[in-house]
């Protein structure tokens, strides 16, 4: 059951990224290029996603359990530290170089482009390196 609902969630999410054009790095880079020919779509897509998901977060914050009864432990909402800012800065630089973040990167694997595989392999390597240094 957990697998099935996660699969459905993934299907919706993946279809959303695809239909909204957010898997195309040209659209993402166009959004980030505010000093060039700006493409504002990403802001609308993200805004709509946030508004759609917000009621679910509100509901779960009250109930502290999912509809299937799993306990919900939402992430910290307040802690702001150097680690957060440093990581987010690094991620932004990487995102700005390619126009690809982890979600669209995964979806792009379906395109069969060698570059997408190279990118995702590097993403996993980067995650793994950080995990290594933590242990």
């Amino acid at each position: 059951m957990k697998f099935l609902t996660a699969l459905i969630a993934g299907l919706l999410f993946g279809a959303g990224l695809l239909v909204s054009g957010m898997t195309d790095p040209a659209n993402v880079l166009g959004f980030l290029d505010i000093f060039g020919a700006w493409r504002p779509q990403l802001a609308f897509v993200m805004g709509a996603a946030v508004l759609t998901a917000a009621p679910a977060f509100w509901f779960v914050r009250q109930r502290r359990r999912s509809l299937l009864g799993a306990p919900v432990d939402l992430p910290d909402r307040r802690r702001i530290d150097k680690t957060l800012v440093a990581g987010a800065t690094m991620f932004g630089v990487g995102w700005g170089l390619s126009g690809i973040c982890p979600g669209p990167g995964l979806v792009l694997l379906a395109s069969g482009h060698g570059m997408a595989y190279l990118f995702m392999a590097a993403v996993i390597a980067g995650m793994w390196l950080v995990q290594l240094t933590r242990n």
Partner: protein, 123 residues
Amino acid sequence: MLIGAGTATLLLMNGRIAGVSGILGNAVRAAFGEQGWRLGFLLGLLVPALILGTGVAQLPRPWYWAVVSGLLVGAGTQIGSGCTSGHGVCGLANLSTRSLVATLTFMTSAVFTVLLVRHGVVP
């Protein structure tokens, strides 16, 4: 809206955050019993593109930029505990100031990076 619906589904049904970097990062290392839902979500992400195609012809060249970019994205999301979906969609929907700061930070550094690449010094 579909992205938001997917996020809501995972939260309401599984009680989990639809942050792709977190799901991927944990799928790389987590205990086996907790793996199932993560693999389900990642598989779900792929299927629409397998059926419909991505329609993306061009990816960043030359190839080493894909590696540099990927390493920064992987390490940065791990250190900063989230990416566009985790902080940008889930965090903002959860009214998290932590995620708001993260989102504004990565948006700013990404805008500067594009500025340098497209209008400036990087080849």
